[in-house]
Amino acid sequence: MRDRVWIFAGLAVFVAAITCPAWYALAHGKASSKPPNLEMPANQKECVAPAGAMRAEHMQMLIQWREDVVRRGDRRFVAFNGKVYQKSLTGTCLGCHSKAGFCDRCHAYSGVSTPYCWNCHSDPQSVARSIP
């Protein structure tokens, strides 16, 4: 065990090297262990599916809605609790949620790039603001 010093020194360098992006981000205030401060809808308590399911599967649901509405003309969504919603990103999702305070904030926190939905679909809040 005469090489103990070298082994532990090497391990320390290795650990420092692979964790340096996290330290760098922490030092520059780009990352934190705190969850993102999401703006929750004031007027609604429940989403179209339980929060866990929405967190994990909202992308598949949005694609399913898109296919249903555009290709099958099926706009009616019956939620898990029996409530009926319109399958609409701007109408239903953004009717409650704020794009900037909810979608973008969580995407930024998770390091997920902004999806191309917004190349065509507009955020009703920012559009309303942009009209003089």
Binding site: G73, T90, G91, N119, C120, S122, D123, P124, V127
Partner: protein
């Protein structure tokens, strides 16, 4: 267990027969799958445009304006890049084969509203390599901008010039964006969708509601008692270039 040749043949014959019977029973008891089910009341949306009424208010662009605001259509000055769903052109260029040289000036120079003909046999949908455009069961020639790859085959195939390509990002050229309808993006083809999104809410197309002269009569061409069918029974109507065999759903009362 040993099986004789005779037993084997008998067994396979019976299995084939059973499989055939199952198919036959299924095809009788179950209608064709999914969206292809023919509804009890077939629908073919169509429109009759009364040019006599339109002539009374020549130069009015209410229909075009209503469509532009409802569908976020960019106003691009460069004619090579322009996007249009409903627009107007002189009578002489809309019906070039109907010119006899002696029509009064008011006729030949009158502006005629044009839009996608929502053909019965549309050439544009046939050439689309991604099925981004297709004919719905209700007769609307629909587009899926998510799927359009911008190859412009449909633009070339449409004999009526109803399709426009987005050569540039349309958003900067839209004066005020209607958030209820998506804008398009650079690189996709677009055209009139017969206000499919309004029909789903039980409304008539935006141009129909906007016209102060009630020039447009919209309805189900498959229903013999519908308003457009009544008009077509009573008056002589023309379609744009019917000899091409596309079967336009837009009729003009001249």
């Amino acid at each position: 267990m040993r099986i004789t040749r005779k037993d084997f043949l008998r067994l396979s014959g019976l299995s084939l027969l059973a499989a055939g019977c199952k198919q036959a029973v299924q095809s009788v008891t179950q209608p064709a799958s999914g969206a292809r089910v023919a509804s009890a009341q077939p629908t073919r949306w169509g429109m009759v445009i009364d040019l006599a009424k339109c002539r009374e208010k020549d130069g009015c662009n209410a229909c075009v304006h209503a469509c532009n605001t409802a569908h976020n259509i960019p106003q691009i000055a460069n004619r090579a890049h322009e996007v249009k769903w409903i627009w107007t052109e002189p009578y002489a260029s809309v019906f070039p084969s109907a010119q006899n040289g002696y029509a009064p000036q008011s006729y030949a120079e009158m502006m005629v509203p044009l839009l996608c003909n929502h053909c019965a046999d549309p050439p544009c949908t046939r050439v689309c390599p991604t099925q981004a455009t297709w004919k719905r069961d209700d007769g609307i020639v629909m587009m899926d901008w998510h799927r359009c790859i911008g190859c412009r085959y449909c633009v070339a195939a449409c004999p009526y010039g109803s399709r426009s390509f987005n050569w540039e990002d349309p958003r900067p050229s839209i004066t005020s964006i209607n958030p209820d309808f998506p804008t398009r993006t650079k690189g996709v083809v677009e055209k009139c969708n017969f206000c499919e999104e309004r029909l789903a809410r039980g409304l008539k197309p935006a141009c129909v509601d906007a016209c102060p002269q009630h020039v447009f009569t919209f309805g189900n061409l498959a229903d013999p008692n519908s308003e457009p069918r009544q008009l077509l029974r009573e008056r002589f109507a023309v379609q744009r270039e019917p000899e091409l065999g596309t079967g336009p759903s837009i009729f003009y009362l001249v």
